[in-house]
Amino acid sequence: MIIDALDIVTAICLALGCFLGISGGVGIYRLPDFYTRMHATSVTDSACAFLILFGLMLQSGFSLVTVKLGFILLFMVLSSPTAAHALAKTAVQFGIEPLLGREDKR
């Protein structure tokens, strides 16, 4: 019974994570410029990765695999904002102007 509950929670986490990953992809396609597209990728970086790793942790139980998944999560949390900041800063220095104001077109 407990195993079943765990399986259901895992399924929900993985499904939600996949949906957020797809949302990130759709966002990259729909959003108009470089900086706004970076916001779409940060959806994939944060919640999508967290949900998928959490779902996998529930399946692996108390083992070394869980610890390793935890390390992956920790390093993603530390490295993805750093990478995003480096990308954005480089874009500014490269002279890419951010699109400002209300823009509803693709």
Partner: protein, 156 residues
């Protein structure tokens, strides 16, 4: 010296957890690689208080829980805007003043901004942050300064 000791302990624990094989030969390999890493870090002069934020005090767990809540709300908001047919966005660039006293505090603030979907810190100059936001409301939330205050409260 203190930081060299901390680094060795952390690396050894990390190696033991990642390896999962505990035969004498493998353990010796681990010890050698930990020693080599510590030696190289000492040679590169990167072993100092900045690499080990042990001075971060206060309610870190509480801040993490609050940040997870904020990230969840921001995710829902950004997803809604991505999927809405009208693509209701208003990209904004704002300048913020970070009130933290140490460079480490400013780093935590900038990274917290960037990891929240909808806001990206694009430039850090001392205590001045330049932030790109997907929507005006996300920028307004940051200008409200709640995240800034919470991170300042973490510093000793």
């Amino acid at each position: 010296m203190k930081y060299t000791f901390y680094l060795t302990i952390i690396l050894a624990a990390f190696w033991l957890l990642l390896s999962g094989h505990y035969t004498p030969f493998i353990l010796a390999c681990g010890a050698v690689s930990v020693a080599l890493t510590v030696f190289l870090s000492l040679r590169m002069r990167v072993v100092d208080e900045e690499s080990q934020p042990v001075y971060l005090g206060g309610n870190v767990i509480g801040y993490w829980l609050w940040l997870i809540k904020e990230i969840t709300l921001a995710n829902i908001d950004v997803c809604k805007r991505i999927w809405s047919p009208r693509l209701d966005i208003s990209p904004t660039v704002v300048c913020l003043k970070a009130s933290q006293k140490t460079p480490f505090g400013v780093m935590v603030y900038a990274n917290s901004i960037t990891i929240t979907p909808g806001t990206i810190c694009i430039d850090v100059d001392g205590n001045n942050l330049e932030v790109h936001a997907l929507t005006w409301s996300a920028a307004e939330d940051l200008l409200g300064g709640e995240m800034d205050k919470r991170i300042s409260a973490l510093e000793i």
